[in-house]
């Protein structure tokens, strides 16, 4: 396609300079560097937890139970995917749960006014995208820090949802939503999980194999140099915020279908769990690093931990302690190990 221009650039050199050495593309494969990677450690953690759980809990390895365990994290993970891209770009979005709530309310409203079921997913996506656009607009147009903007917008979005809902709830959603939220493919694989896998694949392809992904890493690594290299940094940021909003809308569609109602406290506290998924997945808060694979591994690990605790009848709040400790250990450990050697 465009390869001719690229080769033309190479051919344009007049002087035939034979270099004194050739530069190798990449170093020889070293097992040690593979083992030192975050994703490997996460995978190990996942396997360890899996084994512990299957030994300790009798019903753990039941296939139907395992499948049901995915409901817990599927919607959150859908939002964690674009959030990972945002954090790689050195931004953050604390308003995602508020966007989800607002999208759910929007669907409720639309449904109450007679919108056909297939229109509801469009309503959710549209509302989410608009909310994401507001975040992105404020951050890029006025150069405001995203943490502060999204602290403001989360109040706004949840507030608007509250205003519309009042002290009531929307219920009676159509079968289409229930099918997607609670339904299964082939009787065993939850539809939500499949949706998650599909989108994980899409995001992984975008981030790791396309020019878009390459530019996102560049922006996160050094936004100034990225701009100097011709990347429209603001446009990428705006689009990422919009995608995050849209995915929150999709998650709203699935979640509302699963729980069957829209209440004011829907998805309360989700933003922190989602951010934990991303950070645990190896995405650095400083930007410029992280993989979708790592995020998915973190999602699964957290998922089976939650699921195991639920099977053991341990209340969900204990989960927050476990998640918190996991997060702290994963960021502290590399620092503690490195700390002995660093010379300032």
């Amino acid at each position: 396609m465009n390869s001719s221009t690229a080769t033309a650039a190479i051919d344009s050199t007049g002087s035939a300079k034979t270099s004194r050495y050739t530069i190798v593309d990449r170093p020889a494969f070293k097992l040690k560097s593979l083992l030192g990677r975050w994703e490997t450690l996460l995978a190990l953690l996942f396997v360890v937890v899996f084994i512990i759980n299957s030994i300790v809990l009798p019903n753990f390895l039941d296939l139907y139970n395992l499948a049901d365990g995915t409901f817990n994290f599927s919607e959150k993970a859908l939002i964690a995917l674009p959030m990972a891209l945002l954090i790689i770009c050195r931004e953050i979005d604390i308003s995602v749960a508020g966007i989800l709530a607002l999208c759910s309310v929007a669907m409720g409203l639309a449904h109450a006014h007679g919108m056909p079921p297939h229109g509801l997913v469009v309503v959710a996506l549209a509302t989410g995208t608009v909310c994401g656009w507001l975040n992105g607009f404020l951050v890029t147009r006025f150069a405001l820090p995203s943490i502060v903007v999204t602290i403001g917008t989360v109040s706004l979005f949840r507030g608007l949802a509250s205003v519309v809902l009042g002290d009531q709830a929307f219920t009676g959603y159509p079968k289409l939503m229930v099918d997607w939220g609670q339904g299964y493919f082939f009787g065993i694989i939850p539809r939500e999980f499949v949706v998650l896998l599909v989108f994980a694949g899409v995001f992984a392809v975008i981030l790791h194999t396309t020019t878009w992904g390459r530019r996102i890493y560049a922006i996160g690594n050094n936004p100034v140099a990225a701009r100097f290299s011709g990347i429209s940094v603001d446009r990428y940021r705006l689009v990422l915020f919009m995608i995050t909003g849209a995915m929150a809308g999709l998650a709203a569609f699935l979640l509302t279908g699963r729980i069957g109602s829209t209440r004011p406290n829907i998805a309360m506290g989700w933003e922190l769990e989602i951010i934990t998924m991303v950070i645990l997945g190896g995405v650095s808060i400083a930007g410029g690093a992280g993989t979708i694979g790592g995020v998915m591994l973190a999602v699964m690990t957290l998922g089976i931990v939650t699921y195991g605790l639920a099977l053991a009848n341990i209340p969900g709040i204990i989960m927050t302690i476990v998640v918190g400790i996991l997060l702290l250990i994963t960021i502290a450990l590399p620092r503690l190990m490195r700390g002995k050697k660093t010379a300032k």
Partner: protein, 512 residues
């Protein structure tokens, strides 16, 4: 003439045998320096000669691997900047160590504010009155309650000097203090240095400008490639001899200038204006030509280039390429038109340090390679390898992070990246700043090769020998305006420096 034997006072500071290496690179090799109280010592050397490493060793940021430091006859070892400061060695850096949001008075006493009473509270009245006394001593008029962010560069320097005085500094190191100062401010600085000298403080004065050196300093120490070369009294040596000590070879050999046919006008810039940064900038760049842009730091040259590259808004004026007017609203537009800009700040603006060499080089041309990069890896690697080899990049492999390379090689990566965009015009902003001599020469050779291939080069540089050696024409900027354009034959050091300082008469800059 009567020669009286004056007993020389013992040296305030004596360095001998100082060695410092950084992962295999020898930065300082057996360096010696001696300075007496009340003396101004000029520390001279090219970029990369080891001056800043030596300063950092003196101020406690680095610890020497070998050698001794004697302060007032006593052997000392500094493990931190605070220890050096307490011992009486302070530095006035180019980028001042200041806290913008705090006041002038507080900046002077930060970290060691005097307290009074019980419970101990910071004595603001004392701080402010002491600061005022310091400025009175320096005969400088600065409101002590002003916030540092509102000050000019010169005023920030004065605050740092005041801070040094308040710590009873015995040695004050000034690293290129006159960069971006106006003539009047430079003379105030000279006066202050005179005061320091009269008070018995030793001053180490680092500068590239020989007129300043000969005006203000008593003695000189020359470093070259990390080694001590010579020292002596300035009254006993000429500028030419100093330069050859510095460089170790005659100047004209370091700038390989090929004879190329300069063609028709390629880029015509007319009346480029910006509300605050520059005004009425017009110049022409012809095919295969090297136009040098010289000026003091802060003259507005980088700002003009960034505007040309589409990085600024609020820019008015016309830009014509090959006679056609073009609009450049973003770097993408510029790249599409064949303009490339290699920025001054290699680490923050030029390269992505934590990304591999490969990714750095192909970043601006990703869209030319294709959307799905996975499948085009061979092609991408080939492009990156081609430009790396062409620039003789020293690296282990293409996926190595740029941060692991030396300064010179990092610059090659940035150059490679821009060459890969297949430009017609390449703007180089201080391309050899802070890199070692070997790479510098390579860059110069390469620039000549570029024009040999038909590219046009705009070379923004603050190093006079570089501009005079490489450019076909020299554009001199001063405070946002183009002061004068010299053809190669008329560009003499005196003319160019005079124009850059804003004065009209070339003779004014000649050292007294």
């Amino acid at each position: 003439m009567l020669v009286t034997q004056v007993p020389t006072p013992p040296p305030v500071l004596q360095l001998s045998g100082i060695c410092k290496r950084f992962s295999g690179v020898i930065a300082l090799n057996d360096v010696a320096l001696t300075i007496r109280a009340g003396e101004v010592m000029a520390l001279i050397g090219e970029n990369g000669a080891g001056k800043s490493t030596l300063v950092k060793t003196l101020t406690g940021i680095y610890q020497p691997d070998g050698g001794t430091i004697h302060l007032g006859g006593q052997a000392v070892k500094f493990t931190s900047p605070q220890e050096a400061m307490r011992a009486g060695i302070t530095a006035v850096h180019q980028e001042t160590v200041m806290f913008d949001e705090l006041t002038v008075a507080e900046n002077i006493y930060i970290g060691r504010q005097p307290t009074k009473g019980f419970p101990p509270r910071i004595d603001w009245e004392l701080i402010e009155s002491e600061a005022e006394k310091l400025f009175a001593r320096l005969e400088v008029n600065l409101p002590v309650r002003a916030r540092v962010k509102d000050l000019s560069v010169a005023q920030r320097h004065f605050v740092e000097i005041a801070r040094a005085l308040s710590q009873d500094a015995r040695v004050v190191i000034m690293d290129e203090p006159t960069a971006s100062l106006s003539q009047r401010e430079i003379h105030e600085l000279y006066r202050i240095i005179g005061q320091l000298r009269a008070a018995g403080t030793a001053v180490i004065f680092i500068s590239h400008k020989f007129d300043e050196i000969f005006t203000v300093a008593d003695r000189y120490t020359v470093l070259r490639d990390g080694c001590f070369v010579a020292e002596g009294a300035l009254c006993d040596i000429t500028e030419t001899d100093l330069v050859s000590l510095m460089v170790g070879r005659a100047i004209h050999q370091t700038f390989p200038k090929l004879d190329v046919d300069i063609g028709t006008p390629l880029l015509e810039v007319e009346s480029l204006c910006h509300p605050t940064e520059f005004d009425q900038v017009s110049f022409t760049l012809r095919q295969a030509e090297i136009v040098g842009f010289y000026g003091l730091v802060g003259a507005g040259r980088s700002e003009v280039m960034q505007a040309l590259f589409g990085l600024s808004s609020n820019v008015t004026g016309t830009i014509k390429l090959n006679g056609q007017a073009i609009t450049i609203n973003s770097p993408n537009d510029a790249i599409a038109h064949g303009i490339a800009y290699v920025p001054e700040d290699r680490q923050h603006q030029g390269a992505h340090l934590s990304l591999p060499i490969l990714h750095n080089i192909t970043l601006p041309i990703l869209s030319r390679i294709g959307f799905f990069l996975r499948g085009r890896r061979l092609q991408e690697n080939a492009i990156a390898r081609h430009f790396s080899e062409q620039l003789e990049l020293k690296c282990s492999y293409l996926t190595q992070n740029v941060s692991e390379l030396s300064g010179g090689n990092q610059q090659k990566v940035v150059l490679g990246k821009w060459l890969a965009t297949n430009p017609k015009v390449i703007i180089l902003d201080e391309p050899t700043k802070g890199i070692d001599i070997g790479s510098k020469a390579a860059v110069h050779r390469f620039i000549s090769e570029l024009v040999g291939r038909g590219l046009s080069v705009i070379l923004v540089s603050s190093e006079l020998p570089e501009v005079l050696g490489m450019a076909d024409r020299v554009v001199v900027m001063h405070q946002g305006h183009i002061k004068k354009v010299f053809a190669r034959a008329q560009a003499t050091p005196e003319n160019v420096v005079a124009a850059a300082s804003g004065s009209e008469l070339p003779s004014e800059e000649a050292a007294a």
